[in-house]
């Protein structure tokens, strides 16, 4: 079996991953590209040979094989054609050939073409394939460095007899409030589905370490086969706080690297998360439901450091006005729910009982407190439907936070908790915390280790990322 595969695959150059029709040509290539002395242009036979030649003839040390990929530039390794390639690299190469999922070899052009077609076909059908589309890895094209006609770009958006822009404004849907329903084709799959689908799956892989079928399905996409594997660090870190939908920028292939943070958000968004631009951090949070909650906790608890007035623009105040009424009604409901929730908590986890008790004692205060600072966050859980699982995940760290916070801050927190809890409650199964395997055990330690939990900083770092 293994032999058969070997015969099928073309000879390839270990130094630059290029494939050749014939081993003879491969050897010629290696001599010309990788084993040529840069001083006298003599062609040597192997890397060590080149190194020795340079040392002895020119008295110049050479530490890298010329024109090699950065991880394949070891001059010590003796490779001649296909001889001497480390076993694991051979296997890796073969696997990539076979899987057809490789991203780093030269011959994947046809594949990307195929994907392009797929993309076209799927535009109408929708979500999943298109959601997976962006990760499609670009073929490393070694075109001329000039502006060149790199080919006509995909047909779908080529105006098919589109009316001239200025001529018929009426043809397009009017730019009023609900632009959500697009008339143009290809909008929906692009803007929406790739958000919920792909990132969710990624988050699942990250948080529950037992990645199931879904996870493995998505794997080749979010973690590109080779090269820089910086990715896992991010989700691993963040996944403790909430489920986050971290979309990553796909790498281009083994021979190149995009100099950009791995997460697919703009550099500016990235930067606003930094501590020195801290006041903006709370601002960012408003955009996602999850982060709002975590963050409002932060804002309230450290009420001095993050001036809520600074973050409340008048636009928000308008919004607050809108929501205030709604909110009062909600609060009453929440009180009831809170009771239920507390019982559930107490029954489920002994550790959390303390929190519940504390919450109960704080009850009278909470209508007065939870007005301005929480109104903005409040609006979010109502309008945004979030995955229930994440809602619960969220609550637990909250409970932990509450325990160490001064009483004052408590009201808003519980208020925020309530709707999320409710979402959990409404689900058919009577949800207690233990129901959520994977998340709860992770959270409880926080609640237990009340005093040692370093509130502020950790919360800051837990501020979830977008999407």
């Amino acid at each position: 079996m293994g032999r058969k595969k070997k015969r099928q695959s073309k000879p390839w150059c270990w130094y630059c991953n290029r494939e050749f029709e014939d081993e003879k040509i491969l050897i010629q290539h290696q001599k010309a590209k990788h084993f040529k002395c840069h001083i006298c242009h003599k062609k040597l036979y192997t890397g060590p040979g080149l190194s020795i030649h340079c040392m002895q003839v020119h008295k110049e040390p050479i530490d890298k094989v010329p024109n090699a990929l950065s991880n394949r530039s070891n001059i010590e390794i003796e490779i001649y054609g296909m001889e001497g390639i480390p076993e694991e690299d051979l296997k890796e190469h073969e696997k990539q050939k076979q899987g057809g999922k490789n991203s780093d070899s030269e011959d994947e052009q046809p594949q990307s073409k195929k994907q392009k077609n797929e993309h076209q076909n799927n535009i109408g059908i929708g979500s999943l394939p298109t959601g997976m589309m962006p990760p499609n890895v670009m073929p490393p094209q070694y075109g001329p460095p000039m502006i060149g006609p790199i080919g006509p770009v995909g047909p779908p958006f080529m105006g098919t007899g589109m009316p001239p822009m200025m001529a018929s404004p009426a043809a397009i849907n009017s730019g009023s409030l609900n632009q959500g329903t697009p008339t143009t084709m290809g909008v929906a799959p692009q803007a929406h589905p790739n958000k919920p689908l792909f990132p969710c799956a990624a988050a699942i892989t990250a948080s529950t370490s037992s990645s199931t079928l879904v996870g493995s399905d998505f794997k080749p996409i979010c973690s590109t086969a080779t090269g820089v594997s910086t990715k896992p660090t991010f989700p691993a870190y963040g996944s403790t706080s909430v489920d986050q939908k971290v979309v990553l920028i796909n790498t281009v292939g083994a021979s190149s690297k995009i100099i950009h943070p791995s997460e697919d958000i703009s550099l500016e968004e990235h930067r606003t998360r930094l501590p020195q631009y801290k006041s903006e951090e709370s601002v960012i949070a408003v955009t996602t439901a999850e982060s709002t909650e975590t963050n409002s906790a932060l804002t309230n608890s450290t009420s001095t450091s993050v001036p809520s007035s600074a973050t409340l623009t008048y636009a928000q105040q308008v919004e607050i006005g809108k929501h205030q009424q709604h909110q009062h009604q909600q609060q009453q409901q929440q009180q009831q729910q809170l009771h239920q929730q507390q019982q559930a908590v107490a029954a489920a986890a002994a550790v959390n009982a303390a929190a519940a008790a504390a919450a109960a004692s704080m009850m009278p205060r909470f209508p007065q407190i939870g007005t301005v600072p929480m109104s903005v966050p409040m609006s979010v859980p109502m309008s945004v439907t979030m995955p229930p699982a994440s809602g619960i995940t969220l609550m637990t760290p909250m409970a932990g936070t509450q325990l160490i916070r001064p009483a004052m801050t408590f009201g808003p927190h519980t208020a925020i908790m309530a709707p999320t809890a409710n979402m959990g409650m409404l689900r058919p199964s009577p949800v207690g915390f233990p129901g959520f395997i994977g998340t709860t055990p992770m959270m409880n330690p926080y609640a237990a280790a009340q005093m040692t939990f370093p509130g502020g900083p950790v919360l800051t770092s837990m501020v979830p990322r977008f999407r």
């Binding site: 060149g148 770009v153 849907n173 730019g175 143009t184 995009i258 697919d264 990235h270 960012i284 955009t287």
Partner: protein, 360 residues
């Protein structure tokens, strides 16, 4: 105004700067911002002098007057309490709009030096543009709250809100056309005649995150298309209604020239600007270089020497004599590369360099 060679003919003012800081031997703007420069804009043609405004991450907007000699005079500065993400000029050159991270859009009246809030979003405002139509004028703001809002400056509520579906990452306006690039590679064209309306949503010609967009005009000076830059060192030239599909194309830029088959670093295209006279374009990138291009001949007119840090933004003055570009860290390499280096804004006499080459 800026006679040709006006900037270049005088002796270079700041010869003390080492070659690596200013490898292209350009004029340096005095008293640059303390933190990374995030926005850059020259005053419109309606005022005789060249005023340059820069917004930065130190929460400030600064204004300089640029003289013909290349000398810059700091005019004014305002602190807006939050990092600035974009600036735009009012059409008569008396006011500057400021988009910032505290979700507020502001108007800075240069004569009175007063700043008032004129716009608000639920998330940081990424872009701002002044729209001057025959029948209306307004400020367009694009935000990470996934909306585009239009403000008439007198009312605290927008005259119109358009949902983008995703966070706004970049935008450009050239009446009657507006283009917005969003997260998740969204691209929406608006037509502004009568009132702002969505014209069409376009499938992205690029496979990576959108970073900057600039509208270009045809020979008759009406907007016909746009150039879109992504984080993957690539720019797409797109016509709204191409005569043939071949008119649209993409090209690579801002990448390290590795040996063929060698390892290549690919940088983000941070900004694109079209020359107001020649219609050629400039791109600047995280790799610390700017390049001038002729999209019609599909050639590079000029590469630059690399700076020490990324070039974050660029712009031309109204008559295309001066090319301004800002050099700061843009966070592309993450935290560990955030060495505190000085930020710079350089001015280059560029009129001739951006001339399309004579077609033989």
């Amino acid at each position: 105004m800026f006679s040709q060679g006006g900037l270049g003919s005088t002796t270079f003012a700041s010869s003390t700067i080492s070659a690596t800081v200013n490898p292209n031997k350009d004029f340096e703007v005095v008293s640059p911002p303390e933190d990374s420069i995030s926005a850059l804009a020259f005053s419109p043609a309606s005022i005789p002098s060249n005023l340059l405004v820069a917004g930065s991450w130190d929460n400030c907007v600064r204004c300089w007057e640029v003289e013909q000699t290349g000398k810059t005079i700091p005019k004014s500065m305002q602190n807006v309490q939050a990092p600035v993400l974009d600036v735009a000029w009012y059409d008569d050159g008396t006011k500057v709009f400021i988009a910032s991270c505290d979700k507020a859009g502001r108007c800075w009246d240069l004569a009175s030096n007063q700043v008032i809030q004129v716009a608000g979003h639920d998330a940081p405002i990424r872009t701002c543009h002044w729209i001057k139509a025959p029948n209306y004028v307004c400020l367009m703001t694009g935000s990470w709250d996934k909306t585009l809002k239009f403000w008439d400056l007198r009312s605290p509520t927008p005259i119109m809100t358009i949902s983008l579906g995703e966070r706004c990452y970049c935008a450009d306006v050239d009446y009657p056309m507006a283009v917005v690039g969003t997260a998740a590679r969204g691209l929406i064209i608006y037509q502004l005649e009568g009132k702002p309306q969505e014209y069409k949503r376009v499938d992205s010609p690029l496979k990576y995150q959108h970073r900057c967009v600039a509208i270009f005009r045809d020979k008759k000076k009406s907007p016909v298309g746009y150039a879109l830059g992504s984080v993957e060192g690539r720019v797409a030239i797109q016509y709204l209604n191409p005569q043939t599909p071949k008119e649209n194309f993409t090209f690579k830029c801002h990448r390290s020239n590795g040996a063929p088959g060698g390892f290549q670093d690919i940088y983000a295209v941070n900004d694109i600007a079209f020359h107001p006279v020649h219609g050629t374009l400039a791109t600047v990138g995280s790799d610390g270089t700017f390049s001038f291009w002729d999209k019609d001949a599909r050639t590079k007119l000029k590469p630059s020497e690399p700076m020490e840090q990324s070039i974050t933004r660029c712009c031309f003055n109204h008559n295309g004599q001066i090319f301004a570009y800002s050099v700061s860290y843009d966070w592309a390499k993450g935290h560990e590369y955030n060495t505190i280096k000085k930020n710079h804004i350089f001015l280059r006499s560029c009129f001739d360099e951006l001339k399309p080459r004579a077609t033989s």
